[in-house]
Subunit: 362 residues, 2 copies
């Protein structure tokens, strides 16, 4: 069976209507509210075909039709491929009305130095604006370049190691050491580290280099190794990427996400965050090819189990050359994809611009 133009139109109509109402849509509705001028009986026949093709289904006999994951997929792909321009146009107007852009600018201006504040606010704004749940990942530190390292003696046997990455992300680590150092030694260690490590990414700091530096440090070799390990651990580390979420309670607006203990499972995933990593790192690599950096997971497509009834849309922003973070929306499968896509594009666009600008200035 073919998916001819008419079927496609009917499918579109079914999906659109379902997105708006959340109710299964029947043949009569389609017959009335489209310009196809077909009787409900004809529509019924077509819908039966569409069901056979796997794009829609009935929750039970004598109910209207609901899109399947495949149906949504077709719909979204269509949207992503063709009509982006007009959509984003249409939505930009919407946003201006809602003063979203102004909000965003405010957030951005507030404190560019505190990226995590910016990102948190951004997530909050997105959640409020879309009525879905949002999440943001910090730029991946381990791809970022080291800009500056400083060691300070704090107490007996304790060094404070301050690490600054490109883009002025600051991290601190306390290192316990066995020997005490005088000011002079500390100074030369600082020099050594900054000379050797600055400009490198985590991945570029390898074993050979560490050994080499340890050699150079003579009697402080062991200490140097210790510190390098600490630095690597701090940047790279087990803690993984940081993720902020916002608007978790929006899921209560969609019964299909909150009934039957779904709410608990979902919120639990959001609280623990580990699982979100899969959504927000997964494909950072692929960016080169996928020019938009936008990814849509529909229902069963998501790698996260508790989100099998959700759709997830993620977008990538660039913090530094080659250093990416992601921002995402979690909502019901019947989410307003147009709005979400537009919102994400707008936000990532703004983030890109802001970080770039910030860099050019500093």
């Amino acid at each position: 069976m073919e998916l001819d133009e008419r079927k496609k139109k009917i499918l579109q109509a079914v999906i659109k209507n379902y997105l708006e109402t959340g109710e299964p849509v029947g043949s009569r509705t389609i017959s009335k509210y489209t310009d196809l001028n077909l009787s409900s009986a004809t529509i019924r026949n077509e819908m039966a075909d569409l069901e056979e093709l796997g794009y829609i289904f009935q929750p039970h006999t004598s109910a209207g039709r609901i899109p399947t994951d495949a149906g949504y997929r077709l719909y979204v792909d269509d949207m992503l491929s063709g009509k982006q321009e007009e959509l984003s146009q249409k939505n930009r107007k919407l946003e201006e009305q809602e003063e979203t852009l102004k909000n965003m600018q405010e957030i951005m201006d507030k404190r560019v130095d505190r990226i995590e504040e910016v990102l948190k606010d951004m997530a909050k704004m997105l959640a409020n604006n879309t009525n879905y749940t949002s999440m943001v990942s910090m730029p991946q530190a381990n791809k970022n370049r080291l800009k500056f390292v400083q060691l300070t003696q704090l107490d007996e046997g304790k060094l404070l190691c301050t690490i600054v990455l490109e883009g002025n992300i600051v991290k601190n680590e306390m290192i316990k050491i066995s020997q005490n150092l005088d000011q002079q030694v500390l100074l030369s260690l600082n020099l050594l580290f900054n000379n050797k490590l600055n400009g490198l990414t985590l991945q570029e700091i390898n074993f050979d280099m560490a050994a080499n530096m340890a050699d150079q440090a003579g009697e402080y070799g062991a200490l140097v190794t210790e510190i390098i390990n600490a630095v690597v651990a701090t940047i790279g580390s087990a803690d993984g990427i940081e993720i902020f979420t916002s608007g978790a309670t929006n899921i209560f607006k969609y019964p299909e996400l909150s009934d039957n203990g779904n709410a608990s499972r979902l919120i639990s995933t959001l609280e623990e965050k580990e699982k979100l990593t899969e959504l927000l790192t997964d494909s950072l690599e692929e960016i080169g090819e996928n020019t938009t950096g936008i990814q849509v997971y529909i229902g069963e497509e998501t790698p996260v189990n508790s989100m099998k009834d959700c759709s997830v849309v993620t977008a990538t922003y660039e913090f530094e050359k080659g250093v990416y973070g992601k921002i995402g929306i979690i909502g019901p499968k019947r989410m307003d994809y147009e709005k979400v896509l537009a919102a994400l594009k707008s936000v990532t666009g703004n983030l890109d611009k802001t970080f770039k600008k910030e860099k050019d200035e500093g």
Copy 2:
């Protein structure tokens, strides 16, 4: 009407039974499962009195009785006043069985330097252990003493200010400055700051002192003022106290907390955190008198609106001399107060010990 011994016993029995079952408890149950040896009819008479006194009520005619807030209050006060010893004994045994203490020790040993990690883990453990929601506040930075300040020139026009508080809490702040500084000036500024500010709490850094320092700095006076402001802002600041929560989804285990949109409101409060501040700062002052540092809010007593159907128990831990943080449990009014009190005591005890030990070492 008097609250004689017998009435008190019956009230106790009602509450205890309700805590266990969550169901309204009838006269027959009490008659059977206590050593009072009274018929259900007698119990009924007594219960009618207790209802008149405001300690219990019926959700509807022909239902058993449920404790009122006042009833719980009596019960909890009784517990807090008298029998603590035996209780904590009893519970300690319980905990040992569950290897809770071992867990706690592990968490503590892990990384004493990263208090926030310790506290987060602690919150998680508490939530898992009690099946309620837990929250922890970081020690209040603005009561803490400054230990060390360091300025570093990062970019043109940008200083990185690293602030270390007593107990090795590290904060970073980026300061934009209008003039550029050479290494020498930076060094003397660093000296100036450390000389003047170290050992002070936020509250002790006042306007006079700032002015005085600005004077001393000569041509860099404006800059000094700028930096002091930034330091004060960073420590004190708008961000308020940091709070971690854990086990939010435990509320789904108690219908009275999750039905009718209660879940949404509660989780929203937990997500936004601002409101929790009231629970976790409020009475830090009173510690001196209240030796246990434990506070119980029952139902309407809580200052947080979305928690009017909850009970909240908080306990205070001491991070540094005079620097406190709080740790709390949020659950249904019919929570297992014994268990919660014991768990909180055990945790704060351990925190106190750990931080003290850490300090003695370092």
